[in-house]
Amino acid sequence: MSKPLKYGTVWLLLAAWLTMNAVLLSGCWDRNEIEETGIVLGIGLDMPSDGGDDEQRRPKISMTHQIALPTGFSEQGGGKTQKKYMNITSEGPIIFDNIRQLATRIDRPPSYEHVRVIVIGEQVARQMDLRNVINFFMRNTETRRSIRVVVAKGRSEPIFSQHKSGQTPAIELREMTENYHKTLRTPVQMTLGNLSEHLTGQHSFVLQRVMALREESQLSGAAVVKGATARMVGWLGELETAGLNCLLGIRRFNGVIEGVELESGAMLGYEVRRMKRHIVPIIEGDRISFEVRIKSEGKLREDWANPGDSFDQAFVERAEQATAARIRQLAERALEKTQKQYKVDVVGFGKRLSIDHPAVWRRVKDDWEDRFSRMPVKVKVEVRIQEFGTRGSKRR
């Protein structure tokens, strides 16, 4: 046992000595106690109030940090009276400058590992290249790619002061973004990672919109961003967003479509269970047109017709047709706005073309969105009502 043990002892001593040196002489470099960091929960980006340029005509950006105050959360120190967060706004030419400024104003170095949501103010979205805006966050290893990004109507700062029920605004907002599958009126949530992917690929896309109301924030509607310019080009209202969601055919939606029943003119409430869509590109020589087939299945939730007899198959069919008509209407409105007015392709027509007809795609892929704005699109809708709940009819 001589040789191995000797080498083992040599190694042991060497290692121990080096380790002791490293540890005792300099110490733990990365130690970052959790109670000493400022846990940033949300970030807001705005144009600065003074118009947006500094002395050297460089654009500035204003940043709001929402930092958690842990004592507000704990049992002993908290309660209703103490605030759980604080907001700090700073201004500077680049985002990183803003962050460094924070060090001069609060005692805790900010930590971005727990950021829940980034809110981009409308002006910033319209005027600044989004790729530059998020560049800091993409380079930083602390920020997760799963942070949700939304656009605020107006400024983002007020959003961070709205909260109900003793929650922090940022956390609440994050949870609201997850609710997209309960309604058709807001688009799918956008994570920072997906945002980056779209921007890198120069695809156009939509972001959720948040608005500050009197007492709370509301998340509905969408902001349309053009891929080529990486800037926002406009809003989509709630109904237009609903139509867009139908076009996108996202599976997990559970939204409500109100239809107008043809015979009696009464309103119907139809809850979407499933929405599927197929895009079919139609090539005729040099002309490209698209056909969108939307298929939906759902439940009949509410009707204001009399008697509204769901046991009558004819009624059900009328209801289906009414709903289909409504969906078509919404979809066409959305297309109108995005394709014709904003000239963007947020539904994915280009992608479909590239998959089905790669040769054609290669021809048209430059200036795609411009060309697309001139292409005709036909929408066909099919609705199937699976069931109608516990009450079939009001009177038989």
């Binding site: 990365d30 106690e33 959790i34 959360f73």
Partner: protein, 561 residues
Amino acid sequence: MTNKNTTWAGAGVMSNEQRRLSEKLHDNILAFQSIMGQSPDVILRKFRIPGLNKDAALIYIDGLVDKQTANELVLRPLMMLEPAKARALGTAGHSGEDSKPPRAARSRAKAAESALVGTDENNMTVSTGNSQEGAEGSGTGAESAGSGHHMVTSALLNVAELKESPLLDDCIQEVLGGNTVLLLEDADTALIVGSCGWPSRSIEEPVSETVVRGPREGFTEAFRTNTALLRRRIKDPNLVLEPYKLGRRSKTDVALVYIRGLTDMALVEEMRTRLARIDIDDVMESGYIEQLVEDNVMSPFPQLQTTERPDRVAAALLEGRIAVLTDGTPFVLIAPVTFTMMLSSSEDYYERWMPSSLIRLLRYAAAFFALFLPSLYIALISYNHGLIPTKLAISIAAGREGVPFPSIVEALIMEVTLEILREAGLRLPKPIGQAVGIVGGLVIGQAAVQAAIVSPIMVIVVALTAISSFAFPQYEAGIAIRMLRFGMMLAAAVLGLFGVILFFILIMAHLARLQSFGVSYLSPVVPARPSQWKDLFLRFPLRMMKQRPLMNRPQDTRRQK
């Protein structure tokens, strides 16, 4: 009783010339007294055997012998011997006082007996020294009248263990071992009567290894009791007990146990070599043997298993391992041992496979917690708190608001306090010890939180760690993990999660290099042979465990049809 062929490990102290007894009783007694001194517990009883008209002396050590044997079975028949009976015995069936034939006949009978039982070693309660008697008997008519009396007396002694020896040192050793030596006038051999009978603890449930289901017998400090307990479980004649006397001054009885035909003889040979190397004054406990025999002194992990349970030893022997019994301690050593054995308890085999497997998995989880939890806490709190879910992170931060220390100091304070409490709890009398342990822990924890010395979550972490470290069935492994936990905490304190993983790799590398008697410590996990995994993380149904573990390289691999 010892055999002359015993390996006298470390016999250098005694003089190598074997001093022989003289024919004169007086000389013998003087020789005894000069060596043994005048200790008050050495009893020397001179008496006269009326029947033979000879002087005799009985020597034993008070406290070590069963007085009844000495009084009833030795003194009484001899002192009550009538001359007539002596003559009758002397002349019955043979000519004169040579008494060779009866002796030869008796020794033949005895030889026949011992042949039946096989060449088992001398721990059977059959008169040993048969061959010696035979040898002496056939050739030494010169022992004449003395040995004749010798034979008569040995015929009178109704004891099963009887030996003869012409060597003074042997006799002294026997007396020290608790036997009684009978010296006769005109005889240059002494009769040694087996009469060990010292008080010893009764068989109780072992304190350090309790089970819910299973035998509640534990080894005691008496060597003979222990061997008996083993014999009761393996009634195989191939069970071999090789005796040793280790320790120059303590001459502790040690036995190497294995099953011939099953155990790998290379393993036995290796153990023999290592035992022979031991040259130390005393072997107080099996721990001494363990420390002198193990492969790697610098490793925190034990390379021999210790247990107080006979069923565990028996099971180990049947798996192809070997055991070392030590006189004076209930702890038996088993070799070789691997890491997985540290986490298995004998209960695993008595319960059905489903509960056993799940409980075993639980133990692995407990091992993980005991080792990693405090370091993970330190690493996560101080370095990588992004890994904690946000809400939890904020509430932890809230809890730590008032604490002045960084997490490593906090953790060290709590852990060291807990270790001290544990040690203290061991020394206190049983009922108080339990209470102090629990109450102390709770109260101290609570008070510390309120004094803002530690955060509440630290108390939870420490409590969970402590409980997990109790889940180890093998005490030494538990200690190893407890030690390593501190190392890992320091690593976490300097380098966060990277430190934790580096330390973990270090431990694993160490385990990969560690061997116990030629068996890699990481067996049977690696080298990977799925057939060997039936007893690893899950315990497969008993019907499926047909092979003995191959890592012990047994000669007979089939255990069950």
